[in-house]
Symmetry: C2
Subunit: 161 residues, 2 copies
DNA sequence: GACCCGGTACTCGGATATAATATGTCCGAGTCTGTACGG
DNA sequence: CCGTACAGACTCGGACATATTATATCCGAGTACCGGGTC
């Protein structure tokens, strides 16, 4: 079990999109070139983000995507759930019901104890992701990435909006 | 991204195996019958548990599996990692290196900021699983499952060891 | 000169192939247990 | 009665199908820009 790499792409793309000036757009083509990933497939990830209301796109020349909300209003969980879906990572198939010792009168008033633990772990994972916003990521990058690289990258992006 | 259902099977099987008296074994066939899952495929999950040192098996008649350690020494994480592997659920492919603005002199002294967040979430998930032991599960079951069903199930298991 | 209009180039979005993985099945080699046979 | 050889049952490991998912690609529909024509 491993997350799709579209998650990585989507997260990095959102990070890049936070450089886009207001009222402008950055095309899928530019994002694909920047990350060196197939443009057509990356498009699917961006579509998912668009449907989730995280980014918004427009058509025609000078079209593309931009963030639909402020970076401080977008969490990692928003992005990951747009790609992976909101469903739990653990699917309980209720195999406890197959216990041959059970009779009809044994009803399940409580969810399966095993599933409860797995769901709790899932919730912990999501809570961590919910606690990090895109604005936090930008701050971290500012602290760890060389200033000249950040500046050049920003210029590169603005140049293509 | 969703966990394999072998996780569910393995967890439930370990729970059942905690009923097995010392020095006895419960066969894959019995476990498969109990949960109504394909014996051959369940066998793969049990093999994984065996390789991880969580259960131990023996050959021949009256062979099968039993827990290799005390239920209080087996965590949910042990079982899940036996099935899913110990690797992180997030694979960083370092797409930041493809940034066309980068030059050779830009070295990465720190791991990718995006990956760090994802790994932190992964760690939170694992920590939750590490915090629940098989003995805790048994206790929960004793509180939520009707006493007569527990008793009958225990007898069913002992009957087949 | 200003406005309108249509063609063109570019975009997104969904539909369609291919690769990888999870799921499920099957079989042979090795090993232990219990039984039958022979001493 | 005791020891030994054999048959059966079970595990283990690998090889082999199938279903589902992830990855990658393609094509059509729609829209904004640009140039030319008109008032």
């Amino acid at each position: 079990m491993i997350l799709k790499n579209q998650n990585e792409w989507a997260l990095h793309c959102c990070s890049v999109l936070s450089w886009v000036p207001p009222e402008r757009y950055l095309s899928t083509k530019a994002l694909a070139e920047f990350h060196d990933v197939p443009k057509e497939y990356l498009s699917k990830a961006l579509q998912a983000l668009s449907q989730a209301g995280i980014v918004e796109g427009t058509l025609g020349p000078s079209g593309g995507y931009r963030l639909a909300r402020k970076p401080s209003d977008i969490t990692f969980l928003d992005i990951v759930e747009a790609i992976e879906g909101k469903g739990s990572t653990f699917a309980c198939t209720e195999i406890r019901k197959n216990n041959p010792c059970r009779t009809a009168k044994h009803c399940d008033n409580k969810p399966c104890a095993v599933a409860r633990v797995m769901w709790e772990a899932d919730a912990a994972w999501r809570n961590t992701l919910r606690g990090v916003r895109l604005s936090d990521l930008a701050k971290t990058l500012k602290e760890t990435v060389p200033a000249d690289l950040l500046e050049k990258t920003g210029a590169w992006v603005v140049d293509r909006t």
